[in-house]
């Protein structure tokens, strides 16, 4: 079975995000970029499937500018066999991404499409669902556990009410949640090997994909600063304060 994994280049989760002064977006100058953590989890799961003998080939795909190749190299160091770089310099909306991923899926015909449940930059949580809908194949989102058995996958989903176990036919789109696994540390020799693995570069035109009419960002602003709290000495005081604010 072939496993396709999509990865996205995002601002590193440790970076304190700063909004540009003119509100046109987030400041990316000199900011550390990494692979989306949920995509790392998806990648790890794919590599584990390969190590367990369930998967024969792991292919990583990313959509982004020239620099996104760094994240593909990380994916290759994780253990992907080859990578596909869909070069797009503009901002990509979830629907455009889904269209691109659909085209890549149709070209590669994998048995399983793994990706992160959402990217930590836009937090859209749409691409996986849209891709599966466009492809007309099952989806299993927020996966906390994944078992492959022949042509079926059993996925334990982390939903608001608790855990939901579902069975889907393969091929399917599975999106990884936080507790699916703990990604490994990249091994130094694997990092060195990654640069010799093949990366295929394609454009949207090569894939015959058109960008979906996008959203326009009108303004980006930092979250409002939290006002300082107050200390109360007794429960009565607390109740009085809450009543005063009309909260109880």
């Amino acid at each position: 079975m072939k496993v396709l994994v999509s990865v996205k280049r995002v601002v590193d989760y440790n970076v304190r995000i700063q909004v540009k002064g003119d509100g046109s977006g987030v400041n990316l100058d000199g900011v550390k970029m990494s692979m989306n953590p949920f995509d790392e989890i998806a990648m790890e799961e794919a590599v584990r499937l390969k190590e367990a003998g369930t998967a024969e080939e792991v292919i990583a795909v990313t959509i982004g500018g020239d620099k996104a190749e760094e994240q593909l190299r990380s994916a290759l160091a994780f253990g992907a066999d080859r990578a596909i770089h869909v070069k797009v310099n503009e901002e990509v909306s979830p629907l455009t991404a889904a269209r691109i991923l659909k085209a890549v899926f149709e070209k590669e015909q994998p048995g399983l499409f793994l990706m992160g449940k959402q990217a930590i930059d836009d937090d859209n949580n749409q691409t996986g669902q849209m891709t599966s809908a466009l492809l007309g194949i099952p989806q299993a989102t927020f996966a906390g556990e994944l078992k492959i058995d022949g042509n079926k996958a059993t996925v334990v989903r982390e939903v608001d009410a608790g855990l939901e176990t579902i069975e889907v036919d393969l091929p399917a789109v599975v999106t990884a949640d936080l507790r699916l696994n703990e990604p490994r540390y990249l091994k130094l020799p694997d990092i060195m090997k990654a640069k010799r693995k093949p990366v295929e570069t394609v454009s949207m035109a090569d894939l015959g994909v058109e960008a979906a009419p996008g959203l326009t960002v009108t303004k980006t602003s930092p979250p409002p600063a939290r006002a300082a709290g107050i200390k109360v000495k007794t429960v009565d005081e607390l109740v009085a304060a809450l009543k005063d604010k009309g909260l109880v």
């Binding site: 760094e70 190299r73 540390y185 990249l186 130094l188 020799p189 990092i191 060195m192 990654a194 640069k195």
Partner: protein, 435 residues
């Protein structure tokens, strides 16, 4: 020039105010006032008559100079691989080394499982050439600096414990003869590679690595080693040592297996770097074969070895200094005194700014020396400069780290007291670490 004009103007006003005509015509009050005003505000005069500026040449776009041609001499941008390696190491340091550091410091020992995990990252593999089955395609001192600094950001003692065997592998890879490499270097590819360490420092006063008191006397079938080595990392567990000793042809390194007769180990718990299990290596009439001299007769350069080992220590100090900086900034912003964060006090803010400046200068000097080493240029002087700076400023940064935290810095609740002790080692230790 401005003063000249003003002086000239004032002199003229002075003469004018004091002149007989002005006195006689009762003009001296306003004239004196003019003098007062002029000396207060500076002499004012109309702008100089200027030439007519004409555009001689019509430009379509502004003429700008190109950036100076980049030269490879001092480009410190890490390669993609170096950046990824640094990233992985930093993550490992933060998630694995840092939480284990407190206990390892107390126990004077790095947990075996942790060292195993570090080895799993392939640290030693990176010292073994590809043709031997390792992963190294090139030797790079800069990569070594980045790796060591990244690990030390987690903890310096544990970083040294992880890197001590790698240092021996590096030395074998760089200078070892074919026989030495096949006998010893290959063992670093094992799942459980040997614990190993470099032993250069000696306990005497004013230790100079070029004036060794450990001796290697030529005998019929090899050498006889005698002397004491101190502050040797992993001393008790190491199976393999590289020992610096004086021969009649100058200082050299000798490959020494720990089970050789005449070798004994003493624990030497120290102020800092405790997780590296420092110990003393006592050599009494230790017989080693003639083939034990690293690099055979010629291919070994002792001065270069010392320089690379100093750079290794510098790299550790750079990493740990970064850890101090990253720790004190949020602390100073969150800790409140007199109703506001202590970072609002200049005494604190300036201290932190200085840590930043000093740490960056340590990094740059260290990387510059390493980058010269990679280019095949002489780097002994640069490594010595880096060492001096890292020893002085490393200690200062350790001290300032404690100071910013005040009473909190003194107690073991925070790691800065350990870092203070660890950073103290840079000025004391020689050759326990090699890039």
């Amino acid at each position: 020039m401005a003063r000249d004009i003003q002086g000239w103007g004032l002199a003229w006003l002075n003469r004018f105010a004091g002149s007989a005509v002005v006195q006689r015509m009762k003009l001296n009050k306003p004239a004196e006032k003019a003098l007062y005003q002029a000396s207060k505000t500076g002499f004012k005069t109309a702008g100089a008559a200027n030439r007519a500026f004409k555009s001689v040449q019509k430009l379509v776009k502004p003429a700008r100079l190109d950036k100076a041609r980049p030269r490879d001499l001092f480009d410190l941008t890490p390669t993609d691989e170096q950046a990824m390696i640094q990233d992985t190491m930093q993550r490992f340091a933060e998630e694995r080394l840092r939480p284990a550091a407190y206990d390892a410091d107390n126990a004077c020992e790095a947990p075996a499982a942790l060292l195993h995990e570090a080895n799993e990252l392939g640290l030693a593999m990176m010292a073994v050439p590809e043709e031997m089955g390792g992963a190294a395609t090139e030797y790079s001192a800069v990569s070594g600096v980045l790796q060591a600094a990244a690990l030390a950001q987690g903890d310096m003692g544990l970083a040294l414990a992880c890197l001590a065997p790698v240092s021996v592998a590096n030395a074998l890879s760089r200078w070892g003869t074919a026989e030495q490499q096949s006998a010893y270097l290959a063992s670093f590819l094992d799942e459980k590679p040997p614990a190993a360490a470099l032993a250069v420092t000696e306990p005497g006063a004013l230790f100079d690595p070029f004036v060794l008191s450990t001796t290697a006397t030529a005998s019929d079938d090899g050498f006889v080693l005698n002397g004491v080595k101190s502050l040797v990392p992993l001393a008790a567990s190491a199976e393999l040592f590289l020992v610096a000793a004086k021969t009649d042809k100058g200082p050299a390194l000798f490959i020494l297996e720990s089970s050789t007769q005449g070798v004994s180990i003493e624990a030497e718990p120290a102020m800092g770097l405790r997780a590296a299990s420092l110990g003393r290596l006592l050599l009494k009439d230790v017989k080693v074969p003639a083939a034990a001299i690293l690099g055979g007769k010629d291919s070994f350069d002792y001065a270069e070895m010392i320089a690379l080992s100093r750079l290794g220590l510098c790299a550790l100090a750079v990493g740990l200094a970064q850890a101090v900086l990253d720790y004190v900034i949020p602390y100073a912003n969150e800790r409140k005194a007199f109703g506001e964060p202590i970072s609002h006090r200049q005494a604190v803010a300036f201290m932190i700014a200085n840590i930043g400046i000093e740490q960056e200068s340590m990094r740059l000097l260290t990387l510059r020396a390493a980058s010269r080493a990679d280019q095949g240029k002489s780097f002994i002087r640069e490594a010595a400069l880096a060492r001096r700076l890292c020893a002085d400023k490393g200690m200062a940064i350790g001290n300032d780290g404690v100071q910013v935290l005040g009473g909190h810095g003194f107690v073991k609740e925070h790691p800065v007291e350990r870092w203070y002790r660890d950073l103290r080692a840079v000025g004391v230790i020689e050759g326990s670490m090699l890039l």
